[in-house]
């Protein structure tokens, strides 16, 4: 294979000039999805972990069953259920909404497990001190336990967020016009693979800062030990 063919197929600037609005549109959709799903998934996960810490037996039994269930289901399967299943059940949700529901539930199961480990790392005396001043159990969790718990598991939370952002590319399968999907569309227009290379570069630029942050957090946690 000579260089000219490689350049034409993978590094074709004319193709980029032709399709970059599509890629930007896809990138924007991915950003919107992440900005919605990361806080939602984290908040739901933290809520699950908080309720779990109240140690109400039947509630915890239910929570563990739910979390196990959603951790066992591949995200793509869940995605197909919500995107094609919710309308069948009579819920008129747009694709974005259905994708959001799937990723929120899936990521909440993982965030929840991480936050739970964080909560368990906090000495019982913290909760007792807070409750002894009259704080309710939600207040005590919110102001005293969770801030410390989240700090203790910051590397795991960051790592999970990284995985989650990458996993949003799965939504291309159900035709949500996010980055990877738009890359495939663009590829079809220009008949070469350059748009996919561009997609990879965009993911890299988006995630690399997070990867750096992660290794800094990990070093900090190691140093604190």
């Amino acid at each position: 294979m000579d260089w000219e063919v490689i350049r034409f197929s993978f590094f074709n600037l004319d193709s980029i000039a032709q399709v970059y609005p599509l890629l930007l549109k896809g990138w924007w959709m991915t950003i919107k999805l992440c900005v919605a799903v990361v806080p939602l998934g984290f908040a739901l996960g933290a809520m699950i972990a908080t309720v779990h810490s109240f140690k109400i037996r039947w509630v915890n039994w239910l929570l563990i069953a739910l979390v196990d269930f959603f951790r066992s289901i591949p995200p793509l399967v869940l995605l197909i259920y919500t995107v094609y299943g919710l309308p069948l059940l009579g819920f008129d949700v747009p694709a974005f909404g259905a994708v959001l529901v799937a990723f929120t539930i899936n990521s909440a199961a993982y965030y929840g497990e991480i936050v739970r480990a964080g909560i368990e790392s906090i000495p019982a005396g913290q909760l007792e001190a807070a409750r002894s001043t009259g704080l309710g159990r939600w207040q005590a969790m919110m102001h005293v336990v969770l801030p410390q718990a989240v700090r203790n598991v910051a590397p795991d939370l960051t790592s999970n967020t990284l995985e989650l952002i990458k996993a949003t590319s799965i939504a291309s399968v159900v035709a949500l016009p996010e980055l990877l999907r738009m890359g495939r569309v663009a590829q079809g227009l220009v008949y070469n693979a350059t748009p996919l290379i561009a997609v990879a570069v965009i993911y890299l630029l988006m995630l690399w800062p997070l990867v750096r942050l992660l290794s800094r957090l990990e070093r900090r946690v190691l140093a604190a030990r």
């Binding site: 007792e128 001190a129 807070a130 409750r131 002894s132 001043t133 704080l135 207040q139 102001h143």
Partner: protein, 248 residues
């Protein structure tokens, strides 16, 4: 309000942890402005009794009244009750992610719903009372053990409780830091605060307590003024405990 009404009135308190019974029917009355000292060997149930008073432990049987209100009754708003019962712990339990001021102000803001600036002014005043105005913005890991415990006392007194429970407040401190904490407790006593103290500081008990309770194996064995309990001891178990802690 009836001046004679006890602040704390615990009747026939029993407590079991699973199969392990640690309290076998204990009565504890604490009068307004009284300082009650509870002594006894470890495992005697004295900390458990103290923790029952604000329901950090739920008694298995018995009733507790705080200022005449039965807190062991069903449907009591325990958060409401706990505002009026301060607690100081052996291991301080300061919130490490908040400054000293933040530690003291948190419950003022979130429980008493006092606006931030006003709550911080009250927190400053509480820190001043324990001699730590200058440490308001320090974080717990920047403070000595004695200073941390004084912040914890400020956290309790800022809520203006009717009574403060002290659970071995000096046991985790280096000997040279104990004095500063006892000094703060002495001043609280002088200001008329009602206090229940579980501690091994016998000299402090002798000097400051109105009443000393000796507990062993989940029961109150003997009680009276410090003079009675320390110098006119009635029970062998008390005598042997006292000789062990004084090292004679």
């Amino acid at each position: 309000m009836n001046r004679q009404q006890p602040i704390v009135d615990a009747q026939n308190i029993e407590k079991s942890f699973g199969d392990l019974k640690v309290l076998f029917g204990v009565d504890l009355q604490v009068a307004p402005q009284e300082l009650v000292f509870i002594i006894g060997p470890s495992g005697s149930g004295k900390s458990t009794l103290l923790r029952c008073c604000n329901l950090l432990e739920q008694p298995t049987a018995g009733t507790i009244h705080i200022m005449g209100e039965e807190i062991t009754a069903k449907g009591v708003d325990i958060n409401q009750v706990r505002q009026r019962i301060g607690m100081v712990f052996q291991s301080f339990n300061l919130y490490p992610h908040m400054s000293a001021l933040g530690n003291v102000a948190l419950a003022l803001r979130k429980v008493k719903k006092i606006p931030r600036t006003e709550a911080e002014a009250l927190a400053h005043e509480a820190l001043r009372r324990v001699g730590l105005s200058h440490k308001a913005s320090s974080f717990p890991n920047e403070l000595s053990g004695g200073q941390q415990q004084r912040v914890a006392i400020a956290r309790a007194i800022a809520m203006e409780p009717e009574v403060i429970l002290f659970d071995e407040p000096t046991s985790a401190l280096d000997p040279e830091l104990v004095g500063s904490v006892l000094e703060v407790m002495r001043e609280l006593r002088a200001s008329g605060m009602t206090m229940v103290v579980v501690s091994h500081e016998m000299r402090f008990a002798a000097e400051a307590a109105d009443r000393v309770l000796f507990m062993d194996q989940g029961l109150i064995v003997e009680q009276g003024t410090p003079e009675q309990v320390f110098n006119n001891t009635q029970h062998d178990r008390t005598r042997s405990f006292l000789s062990r802690v004084s090292g004679n």
